[in-house]
């Protein structure tokens, strides 16, 4: 099996989708001639031409909105937002226009578009280039949101998103782009949106996570004395209740591991849903491992503490399993 960079999985998914479906176009800043700020669109211009691989001015509102219009009228645009924060200047077009197109037309109009963006912390890009921001989209009925976690999930989710009839946001953890791993491409491989996967089976506790935290969860599970089942949620909206529910029914304990502020992370929804539906099966109160409610710090020492590490996650999970009481997060222990 060949070792590939994870960012190659993005390129391969885009290239294959464009080859399979002539209505797929790619738009964004420096995606064509330069091959993409993260080099995930390299070669697309040469293979698919300038009408389908489009460099835009720094005008997110215009190209996000153009994607909406193009999608309604028959194209399948894939928009690159480079850093997910940049969608802030174009948010109306996605969360208010694209998200309501099907609803307002009572199904006569659809917007099959994909917004892809790099997201997340860990590399010292500072507070305006390090967020996940999935809650901006999870909070908008009409949008789907998925987060990639390795080469395979990147390919499988991106292909499904491009084929989906509705607007989908794909968040690609930037820390993963530069990782290499063994992966054999299979152009028929898809991960259906809304399906989670069990990344590691276990018996003591269900650890639900996604994105770059998948690796952290798996490393924590390796190191932990507890037998941890790791679920990669993959799609944050709509999320796979059944897989999580079935797992919790077996383990009796639920922990979420989120690269998100405590106050707005997706785990709040997961925990409340499972607590309501599986109350009688829980041996312990559910627990959430999150970021503190603060912007992402730049300084290396601070950012390393800010993000959950495998050791911290292992400790938190072990504390829950051994005492059946949720431990405090580090920032409340310190206070």
């Amino acid at each position: 099996m060949a070792k590939i960079w994870i960012r190659q999985a993005v390129l391969r998914a885009l290239d294959d989708a464009m080859t399979d479906d002539p209505s797929v176009i790619v738009m964004g800043e420096d995606v064509a001639v330069a091959g993409g700020p993260f080099k995930v669109t390299e070669g697309l211009l040469a293979s698919h031409g300038p009408e389908r691989v489009i460099d835009t001015p720094i005008s997110e509102m215009a190209f996000m909105g153009a994607a909406v219009g193009a999608a309604v009228c028959g194209l399948k645009p894939v928009v690159e937002m480079m850093f997910i924060e940049f969608i802030g200047v174009a948010l109306d077009q996605l969360t208010t226009q694209a998200a309501t197109m099907r609803y307002l037309s009572r199904g006569r109009l659809t917007t099959p578009l994909v917004v892809r963006a790099s997201a997340g912390a860990g590399q010292g890009f500072g507070c305006q280039h390090s967020q996940m921001l999935d809650h901006w989209f999870r909070g908008t009925p009409g949008l789907k949101v998925a987060v990639t976690s390795n080469a395979r999930t990147t390919y499988g989710l991106l292909r499904s998103a491009i084929e989906d009839p509705d607007p989908v946001v794909i968040l690609e953890p930037r820390v993963l782009y530069a990782e290499r791993e063994e992966y054999e491409f299979d152009r028929d491989y898809r991960i259906p949106l809304g399906h989670a996967e069990i990344a590691r089976p276990g018996t003591d506790v269900t650890l639900v996570t996604c994105g770059a935290m998948r690796r952290v969860a798996l490393a924590a599970a390796e190191a932990s004395s507890a037998n941890i089942e790791v679920i990669d949620l993959l799609t944050l909206w709509p999320w796979d209740r059944k897989t999580v529910m079935d797992s919790v029914a077996r383990t009796g304990r639920l922990v979420t591991l989120e690269e998100a502020p405590a106050g707005s992370g997706w785990g709040g929804d997961v925990v409340s849903s499972i607590a309501v539906e599986a109350f009688g099966k829980l041996k312990a109160a559910p627990h959430r491992i999150t970021l503190p409610d603060a912007p992402v710090p730049y300084s290396g020492a601070l950012e390393a503490r800010f993000l959950p590490s495998p050791a911290y996650v292992a400790d938190q999970v072990a504390a829950l399993v051994s005492t059946n009481k949720p431990p405090l997060p580090w920032w409340r222990n310190a206070a």
Binding site: D30, P57, G126, C127, A301, L302
Partner: protein, 344 residues
Amino acid sequence: MTISNSNSPIARREALQDRLEQLTRMIEIRFVEDRIQKLFAEGHIRGSTHLASGQEAVSVGIARSIDPDDVVTCTYRGHGHALALGVTPEGVIGEICGRVIGCAGGLGGSMHLVEPEVGLLPTAAIIGAGLPIACGAAMAARARGKDRVAVSIFGDGSANIGAFHESLNFAAIRRLPVVFVCENNLYGEYTRIELSTPVEDIAVRAASYNMPGVIVDGQDVDKVAEAMAVAVARARRGEGPTLIEMKTYRYSGHSRSDPATYRPAGELDAWLKRDPIDILADRLVSESILAPGGLDQLKAETRDAVERATAEVLDSAAPDLGEILSHVGASSAGGDQRWHFWSR
């Protein structure tokens, strides 16, 4: 080493009225950028960094034309502007190395330099973000009876974002004391201006908003200052905003990872022949302010000073973990530390 008072941001700003200091500051900016490049290679800097070598005259020309309590908004390409406005080399290098002596205490990094004492709001990493904020600063100045101006510095590529057009219109219609400064360095990321922008001169866009649009040789610090003085005076008189386009060039690529191979052969060399430091040095020699050959000595001294600042930074501490949660809101552990402009 403690930072002496003469090295405070305010003192450094005031010193900029001196001709020789203007030259020294431009050299300082160049050497700090060079050193940052090296610190990156040495592994002391995380994330990305956007150097402004070649654009020093714009920074110094702006800074010497406004007062410390005029407000400045600026982008991630802000190291030079921060130094010119008065932030110390330790403050800039320290921030970029994530140390507590950095001007944002290590919380911000390369893209987020700040010094309220000299009017610098945190530099923004989102294109266009600073223009509307400058409009608001100008509104506040007027509402509070101050004849302060707000200066917003941004790139040529930023003239294609909605915030540019909305802000120019807003400032014009309300006659706000804002000076919009576009640093046209011919590129936005890896794309040359003609591929993203249908006009060659950003300044022509001022016409749509019925404000003066001025084109300036951004490599000549005196021309920059002259144009700024006119726009600032107009703003202070209550006559409204101006758009100034500084024609300039960034010697390096867009960011650390960009070797700038997309530039046509010879372009960089042509610009290097009009280096802003040389232009001012030659003028100061002809004005007998600088001895012939004095530039070399000034460079040697400044290089030493930047080395000393770097050593101080590398010797200094990282921020405490408590900093993560201390400044999120007034109820954070740090309490209400809001600092109002014009509270002095």
